[in-house]
Symmetry: C2
Subunit: 93 residues, 2 copies
DNA sequence: ATAAAGTGGTTTATTTTATAAACCAAATTT
DNA sequence: AAATTTGGTTTATAAAATAAACCACTTTAT
């Protein structure tokens, strides 16, 4: 009757991050923080979880002298997101 | 950009319960437990939360000698569900 | 009649998760 | 050179979900 909701995606902040990343080539930490309106600490933790699941890739580098964290959705992340959306529909349609 | 997701509804089990109740006149504890596949303890706790928020009404009675718990969505619950679904769309569309 | 098992739950304890607070290293501003 | 800002991470706390125990009965089997 109801499809299971991937708990990693069923989180407001992680879902927002994935929702952003699915629509862009890449996005950096600062951008994600502004768009989601969350705290840096929370974002840091949630990005880690998404990365550990292989849903996003994180590249750290320096832009001049400042650190820079760029995130990008992976194919696995894309698939998981699509499945999650599909599962959600079993609840809301 | 992203609408807030009502945390009371952003829970797999509570969402499933609301999803069932929105489509029927009423449903009892046993039916909800079977449809959702959850444990009685978990269902009991989550129904309480929905009831305390005024999203569902709970009537307790006896059917012959056995206790019976009947749940019904309220107008407030109906509205909250509709809003939640609408908010979700800002993430998945 | 009594013990064992089942029904329909509730309550309490444990684990997991989310969130916030504190911190760090370096850069920039005053 | 002290204070503030940037771009984060780490750690502590609060909240939530889940599971395990339990309770009050009823039904079935002995």
């Amino acid at each position: 009757m109801f499809k299971e909701l991937n708990p990693l995606l069923h989180s407001e902040l992680r879902l927002a991050v994935m929702s952003i990343l699915i629509g862009v080539e890449s996005a950096d930490f600062v951008y994600l923080r502004k768009q989601t309106g969350t705290t840096a600490g929370n974002l840091s933790v949630q990005l880690d979880k998404l990365a550990k699941a292989g849903y996003i890739g994180i590249e750290k580098s320096f832009r001049g002298k400042m650190p820079r964290t760029v995130c990008r959705i992976t194919e696995r992340g894309r698939n998981a997101f699509a499945e999650y959306v599909d599962a959600l529909k079993s609840y809301i349609e």
